[in-house]
Symmetry: C2
Subunit: 433 residues, 2 copies
């Protein structure tokens, strides 16, 4: 059989990594596929004299590359929405298979792109778009295919997890650790995507779609970042037997699907609580298997290239063995998607950690507990804290309650004359059922 | 498309679980495959009035069932070598696809069976044979396909892990916990397969084959059980910052492949060290991605059925979409296997934990350290222990050394007049590189 021919678009850390991996492991990869993989084109503006590009055509005209007849698979690693979207559309229209790590593009325009790919009988493979080197797309789409997925919860942004780990281990404030993360190259100059949860929401959108067989709905993910978490809250959580993690959660509830990214208290003994630094991990609760967890590096050239090349190998096998190269597994895990409603934040049920700064007035704790009890919110724990200046922080953990009730409770507590500043609310999940 | 037709052989916990899972999740599974799955036959001797067997033919003549024309996939869940082997051979010769959880059969006769399957252009799928509900076969064979696997280390026997966890957490002796495990149904009446590492060696044989693309070589796995581990050693390990886990390890060394199952000290902070009770987990170190870990329930009806049904779904997709239903992925991960030598125990390098019971004689520690230093074995730590009766246990941790040297050292230490009883040796792995 003649080689399968590849165009790699973007020769940054990941694109360069894909090229090197295919070159270094060529023998072993050929033992797996039984067929040679040949890189015919690279699309890049920056020269990369450190890479071996012998016999490969280089150009910065990406649209032109994806139209070439000597390209079977297009590997899009330039990122961002534009011009990536137009390039992938052009590739699909020319009958090319597509591999991409572009979570933002798929989360925001995936419904359109996957439909177009189906029409042209090609695949868009996206293992590299979620959790780097952990093959979580394959696990969810195929490995757990026998199960009804109940929920998944993931640490799917390494930068955020690094920051929270440092805050906990060294008691450092958020801004301080963020600055270090930027110096270490873990965080971008504009850290919004990472610390405000947008990157995690992109990944969660993809995971939820293949978990439940629903269309991609990025705009319906409730998203809250970690920039308001204080070292104080991290410390209180610790004293209560919990860790604060920035989780992406997708859960099948009675009335619909919960889709949310926010800081979350989870019990210390949960495997996810012990995932530290830039590592990623996804826990999945499924009907037959129960709880499984997948752990590893979520970013970086090597891990992301590993995922992209695994997709390339799958495609090479599909091109070689299926009738039309279209592949045997539905792109979004299910042959037909179902429009299960995504619940608004107010209809989601969870436990809460509340931190309320009050003046040392007799009766204020009674006022707060009365407000909660009138709304049917039961208290699981109260942490007595030493006086900070003239204010006393009251820390309360509640049993699960629908969020609209909690909104009401917080508004009322906020209105008490003794309350100072904002009431801090962090959601809490036991991750047990 | 007409339904894909299934025969389930064996209606025990797992077989019954497969049947129920296919019935309960029929709608969701059909959304995934786009095709119906119909159970046409079950092979069982025991009646199962609790199961819904309406419209399914029952028989205890398994050889007859696998010859039926209305069977596309045979799901073998009777276990054991005989008659399972003959039944699978008959199924393959009749052109049936095979799904099995039979690790013993595949580890010991897999080379013959997989070759026969290739000749008849059918597949033997075996996700359920290793680590229950964790889709580790798929992860290794496809998800990490871009990588050269450096090593894997797994807690792949839940019974053994339950026993070691109880010994550590409650300071209980081995025999005591084993008895409880038997009462809880975690361990068989004859616990040899679990506690002596044979079950783990079967699974490791399969994992090593797909990690390195080598033939199945169960007889070359060095296998040591946990029955000699004492609560005392578990305690000493803890004081030194380690946990004792019963690991299956496959490692690519310079001269060949290490294949071994034995109790192992690993650093407490390693993710594997924190896998407790009957849970399984496999850590994989691979060239591009680095270290990833896969965690979940390794046994039980639900998890094992989840894996078997995932295989069934893969096969249904392959039957539907590939030209001949042969599938796109090589059964043992590689199109061609390589005969890399398996190293004998004596050529394997690791660190060691030694416990030596000596009389309180001046100079004995000097004798021991001299023996070690003459053989080029460096000491990493020595634990000073309080006197037990009239004997002092000396606990020594060494840096990595080839095992033939350690054999020599132990023989010499054993020959010292001050040494009492056997020198206890437990291997030690940092799991870092």
């Amino acid at each position: 059989m003649k080689p399968v021919r590849l165009a790699i678009l973007g020769l940054g850390t990941v694109g360069g990594g894909v090229l090197q991996l295919l070159q270094e492991n060529a023998t072993e990869i050929k033992r797996r596929t039984g067929r040679e993989i040949q890189i015919t084109h690279v699309g890049t503006r920056r020269p990369r004299p450190d890479l071996n590009l012998e016999g490969i055509q280089q150009s910065d005209n990406l649209l032109e590359i994806v139209r070439q007849p000597d390209v079977d698979i297009v590997v899009e690693l330039i990122g961002g929405l534009h011009p990536a979207k137009d390039i992938i559309i052009e590739a699909i229209k020319h009958g090319k298979q597509v591999v991409t790590a572009n979570k933002a593009l798929l989360a925001e325009h995936g419904n359109e792109l996957f439909t177009l790919a189906d029409q042209h009988v090609v695949q868009i493979a996206y293992e590299a778009a979620v959790a780097g080197g952990i093959p979580i797309i394959k696990v969810m789409r195929e490995g757990l295919a026998a199960n009804r997925i109940n929920w998944l919860a993931g640490i799917i942004n390494g930068t955020g997890n690094f920051i929270l780990t440092e805050m906990r281990e060294k008691g450092r404030p958020f801004e301080d650790v963020l600055k270090e993360a930027q110096e270490l190259g873990y965080a971008e100059a504009d850290p919004t995507f990472d610390v405000e949860g947008i990157d995690a929401a992109h990944k969660l959108t993809l995971l939820a779609s293949i978990a439940f067989g629903i269309p991609l709905q990025f705009d319906k993910v409730y998203t809250e970042g970690i920039s308001k978490i204080t070292a104080q809250d991290v410390q209180y959580a610790e004293e209560l037997g919990f860790r604060i993690k920035h989780l992406g959660i997708a859960r099948r509830a009675e009335k619909g699907i919960e889709l949310r990214v926010h800081p979350t208290l989870i019990p210390k003994e949960q495997p996810l609580a012990n995932v530290n630094g830039v590592q990623n991990a996804i826990a999945v609760n499924a009907s037959a298997v129960g709880q499984t967890m997948y752990y590893g590096p979520g970013a970086g050239g090597g891990p992301t290239a590993s995922a992209a090349v695994a997709d390339i190998i799958d495609l090479v096998r599909d091109i070689s063995y299926t009738e039309d190269g279209s592949g045997t597994i539905p792109q979004l895990a299910f042959e037909s998607l179902k429009d299960i409603p995504i619940l608004p934040r107010q209809e989601i049920t969870s436990g809460y950690y509340l931190r309320i700064n009050v003046e040392d007035l007799t009766g204020v704790l009674a006022d707060v507990t009365t407000i909660l009890s009138h709304l049917g919110i039961s208290i699981d724990a109260i942490l007595q804290q030493p006086r900070l200046k003239n204010r006393i922080p009251i820390v309360i953990m509640t049993d699960p309650i629908v969020e609209s009730k909690m909104d009401e409770a917080i508004a009322k507590i906020q209105a008490l004359p003794a309350t100072h500043g904002e009431v801090i609310r962090i959601r809490l999940e036991s991750l047990e059922h």
